[in-house]
C-alpha cells in the first residue's frame, strides 16, 4: 500500500502550492462525501489529501448586503441552512443544496464539492447556474472568476486547470421582485439522485418578467444554462404560451441518457414539466419580495 499524505494548510497559498506540486496526484478534501466514497471504491487513489477547511475563506459566509453573498466553497449545507439571511435571499439555491444526501451528508457536503465532483445530476449546480453565481478560482497562475456553468466539462470532469482550487461563490445583489426556486424529479421522496433537476431565477416588476435564468441538470453530460428558456420568459407575465415556449426550450436542450432512473423520453418530458412548476414557485417568491 502506498502512503497517503494528509495536509491541512491554513492559507490558500499553501494549499495551491501543495496542490500544484503534487501534479495531479492530490485530491482536495472539503466535506469528503464524494472523495471518501471514491477512495473506498478504489476509483480515486490520491497520494496527497489537501483538507481546505482550515482556510478561513473556504468556510466563510459573507452577507454583502442587498441579497449579495460570498459563500466559501467548503461551507456545509447544514451551516448554510442555519444562516439567518442566506436562505431568505436565495431560497432556491438553499433548497437545492439541502437536497444533497441525508442530514448526515448535509453536515459535511459543500456546494464547492458538488460542483467539482461534476456529476450532471448534482443538485446545487442548476440552482447556482440560475442564480448567476460566479466562481472564484485560485491556482498557480493567480486568481480568476468564471460563471458556475463554465466549470463542468462532462461527467466527473471540470475545466479547472492543474493546481486550481475553487475558493468561493459570489451571488449577485437581489433587485426588488426577485425570486428563485429549484425542484428535482426523483422516484422517491428523499435520498436519491435527480432524474431531472431544474432551477429558475426571476426578477419581476408589476407581474412582468424582467430578468430570467434557467439551469437544467441530469439531462446532458453537464448542467446547462438554458438561455432560450429564459428568453421565452422575459417580457411575459408567465402566461401559458410563454411557459410552453420555455418548456419546449428545456426539452430541446435535453441530451439525456437512458438508465434505471429514467428513459430519454421520460427525462425530456419531465424537463418541460419542471420548468413550469419551478417558474411558478420562483414567481410567487418574487411577488413576496
Amino acid at each position: 500500500m502506498t502512503e497517503i499524505r494528509y495536509l491541512a494548510p491554513s492559507t490558500l497559498d499553501e494549499a495551491v502550492k501543495a496542490f500544484a506540486a503534487a501534479s495531479g496526484a492530490a485530491s482536495i478534501l472539503a466535506g469528503g462525501t464524494d472523495l471518501l466514497v471514491q477512495m473506498r471504491a478504489g476509483v480515486r487513489q490520491p497520494g496527497t489529501i489537501i483538507d481546505i477547511k482550515k482556510i478561513a475563506d473556504m468556510t466563510a459566509i459573507e452577507d454583502l448586503g442587498g441579497g449579495a453573498f460570498r459563500i466559501g466553497a467548503a461551507v456545509s449545507g447544514a451551516t448554510l441552512a442555519e444562516h439567518p439571511t442566506f436562505g431568505k435571499a436565495w431560497p432556491g439555491v438553499l433548497e437545492a443544496i439541502n437536497l444533497i444526501g441525508s442530514k448526515q451528508v448535509q453536515g459535511r457536503a459543500s456546494p464547492g464539492g458538488n460542483l467539482c465532483n461534476a456529476s450532471p445530476a448534482g443538485d446545487s449546480v442548476p440552482a447556482m447556474v440560475a442564480a448567476g453565481a460566479v466562481v472564484t478560482i485560485q491556482g498557480p497562475n493567480g486568481r480568476r472568476e468564471v460563471p458556475v456553468e463554465a466549470i463542468p466539462a462532462g461527467p466527473g470532469r471540470t475545466t479547472l486547470t492543474p493546481g486550481e482550487i475553487v475558493v468561493s461563490f459570489t451571488f449577485p445583489k437581489r433587485p426588488k421582485g426577485s425570486g428563485d426556486a429549484y425542484l428535482r424529479m426523483i422516484p422517491r421522496t428523499e435520498m436519491d439522485i435527480a432524474v431531472v433537476g431544474l432551477g429558475v431565477n426571476l426578477v419581476m416588476e408589476g407581474g412582468v418578467v424582467k430578468e430570467a435564468r434557467v439551469g437544467l441538470g441530469a439531462v446532458a453530460p453537464t448542467v446547462l444554462l438554458v438561455e432560450d428558456a429564459a428568453k421565452a420568459l422575459i417580457g411575459s407575465r408567465l402566461e401559458d404560451a410563454a411557459l410552453e415556449k420555455a418548456a419546449e426550450a428545456c426539452r430541446a436542450a435535453c441530451k439525456p441518457i437512458n438508465d434505471k432512473r429514467g428513459t430519454i423520453a421520460y427525462r425530456t418530458k419531465v424537463a418541460g414539466v419542471l420548468l413550469k412548476r419551478v417558474a411558478a414557485i420562483a414567481a410567487q417568491r418574487a411577488g413576496g419580495n
Binding site: V37, R40, I49, K103, G107
Partner: protein
C-alpha cells in the same frame, strides 16, 4: 509508515491517537479507541449507522478522516447517557421497543438527539425526513418515529 498524531475531544474527554492519513474516523473509533457503539453499515454514507457529532454537527463517521478530528469535539453514542442515566430518547426507545436487531439504533439515537436539539416540536413528517439517512434493515421505522415523537412531547413537558 509515518502516522499522524491527533489530539481531540471525545464525549468531553481529551483523547490522543495515531492514525494513517487514509483512516476514517469510524476506523479509529471502533479500532484503537474501542468505542464500538458507533456501527459500520455501508461505509459509504448511505445508512447512518455510524452517525456521530463533530462540534455538534451530525455527520457519518465513515465519511470523515480520523485526521480531521484534530481540535474538534466529537460526540458518540457512548456519551449519550450521562452519569449512568439514559437520555430520554434511549429510555423511550426501550419502553416502546423501538428497535429490532439494534444495529441501526445508535445512529438513529444520535440523529434523533440532533433533531430534538434543533427542533423540540417536530411534526411526524419532519422526523421522517430528518431520519431519512438512517436505514433500519428490519424496517422498524414506525416504532422509531413514534418513540421520537413521544420523547419530544415528554421533553417539552419537562421544560414547561
Amino acid at each position: 509508515m509515518s502516522k499522524l498524531h491527533v489530539t481531540t475531544t471525545i464525549n468531553g474527554e481529551p483523547v490522543e491517537y495515531l492514525c494513517d492519513a487514509s483512516a476514517s474516523m469510524l476506523d479509529i473509533l471502533r479500532g484503537p479507541l474501542g468505542l464500538t457503539g458507533t456501527k459500520e453499515g455501508c461505509g459509504s454514507g448511505d445508512c447512518g449507522a455510524c452517525s456521530i457529532t463533530v462540534d455538534g454537527r451530525l455527520v457519518c463517521a465513515c465519511l470523515m478522516l480520523a485526521a480531521e478530528a484534530e481540535g474538534k469535539a466529537i460526540g458518540t453514542i457512548e456519551g449519550m447517557a450521562e452519569h449512568g442515566v439514559l437520555h430520554p430518547l434511549q429510555q423511550k426507545f426501550l419502553e416502546m421497543a423501538a428497535l429490532q436487531c439494534g444495529i441501526c439504533t445508535p445512529g438513529v439515537l444520535m440523529a434523533s438527539k440532533a433533531l430534538l436539539e434543533r427542533n423540540p416540536d417536530p411534526t411526524e413528517e419532519e422526523v421522517r425526513f430528518w431520519l431519512a439517512g438512517n436505514l433500519c434493515r428490519c424496517t422498524g421505522y414506525d416504532k422509531i418515529v413514534r418513540a421520537v415523537m413521544e420523547t419530544a412531547a415528554d421533553m417539552r413537558e419537562t421544560v414547561r
